[in-house]
Symmetry: C2
Subunit: 224 residues, 2 copies
DNA sequence: TTGACAAGCGTATAAAATACACATATAATG
DNA sequence: CATTATATGTGTATTTTATACGCTTGTCAA
């Protein structure tokens, strides 16, 4: 029993979140720079060790707040990573989340106890990352792309509402694909994720765009 | 630092798998009965503690083999469960998997060090389960239903090939829904998951059904 | 007013999902 | 050996959804 116990002694849990944003049609992810070993000086995704007294999602949110000052972000758990050697210190597994947020809301990119700074990186210009965070990031982006249809993941990106052209630009950036203006509108409205506010954008030179808001509830639609 | 370290000391990792089968149109799940505390005498899903020297999926498969004798099962990771109080002993999180298998392949439902016996339960007649396994089971079934289309999750159920009517019965059991024979066939063939073998079933009284086989590779199809 | 511009609205066509008729292969029957 | 029963396999018409693209509308600037 002693021998056996050793086999699962000294395990730990990371909660890691890939925080995405879209700026001028470019999809970016938030990275922070480590100040301590292991992986001192390396860029990594937001995250850290889960505390014993908090649930997974709460831990992920606490880490986000600690290291970036961001609150009120919707995050989605998508996969858990557990390669034996993913951490050089002890056996750690990482519960992976992703979220999308308006980068303008991130005012404080703080220096913390364990990080020197934070910054947004375009997803096609990612530096080498510590731990297995490159793998986590790759899969997070894939999941984001899969789940962006039929969910209100983008809610945190548009806390004050969004216009169709804005929304389309974000979809096009994340999915790396162009859509027809008119069909995009029809599709979005049929998905039943957003609703009309009776407001319009103040804009220059052309017809102002209607402002929509994401609904609260998410409806799962079954295929087949 | 000492105080802080205590906050994430003594954590452990479960790997839990909901193993489903379909018998005579009834979807069933494999449960095992615990022989030790905590939850002594309670039914639970297959699983246990992850060892330090094994990856998540390997650990889940080892637990399946240890407690049921089943090898060669395809399993899919779907969610990680981490409620603070999900284990009364220490802080444990559970990485959840599901899989589908032909119950006829399960010959040995062994008594092990930690379990007295194992049995298949129809999913609408589940006894009270230990830990948070009722929640895990519910979500596993939901994920199975979501992912059964467009994946070869059912491969382990039909190692020797499958006919269209057989396959349809399984889909109908898992999705709890009836399909039109002819449209089901068209849909399945268009999904490109199975391929024709040039064999047919030996059957009585009516036209014999063609035998198909699941392909090896899984192709992700993008919606939108 | 008019032109430029981008948003909004509508319609025709193509593709996919659904409903349902017909043909075929086996075993049992007279 | 044709006939019938049964469940499989194949085909076609209809409906729904997705895609392609024309036209209209609201704002600013000239």
């Amino acid at each position: 029993m002693d021998v056996k116990n050793k086999r699962y002694k000294g395990q730990g849990i990371h909660v890691i979140t890939a925080i995405f944003t879209v700026e001028q049609g470019i999809t970016k992810v938030l990275l922070i720079k480590r100040k301590n070993e292991p992986f001192l000086g390396d860029w990594v995704l937001t995250g850290g060790a889960l505390y014993n007294d908090e649930d997974l999602e709460d831990g992920a949110r606490r880490e986000i707040f600690d290291k970036t000052g961001i609150t009120d972000i919707d995050i989605t758990q998508f996969k858990t990573f557990g390669r034996v050697d993913r951490s050089p210190v002890m056996r750690m597994i990482a519960v992976g989340f992703f979220g999308v947020i308006d980068s303008k809301r991130v005012k404080v990119l703080r220096e913390t106890e364990s990080t020197t700074n934070a910054d947004w990186f375009p997803i096609d210009k990612i530096p080498p990352l510590g731990y297995d965070h490159e793998e986590i990031l790759t899969e997070a982006l894939k999941e984001l792309q899969k789940r962006i249809v039929n969910s209100n993941i983008l809610k945190s990106l548009f806390p004050d509402g969004v216009t169709m052209p804005e929304l389309q630009k974000v979809y096009e950036a994340i999915l790396n694909k162009k859509f027809d203006r008119r069909n995009f509108r029809k599709k979005m409205l049929s998905l039943n994720l957003i609703e009309d506010t009776n407001k319009s954008e103040q804009f220059e030179g052309n017809r102002p765009a209607k402002i929509y808001k994401f609904k609260k509830k998410i409806e799962d639609k079954n295929i087949f």
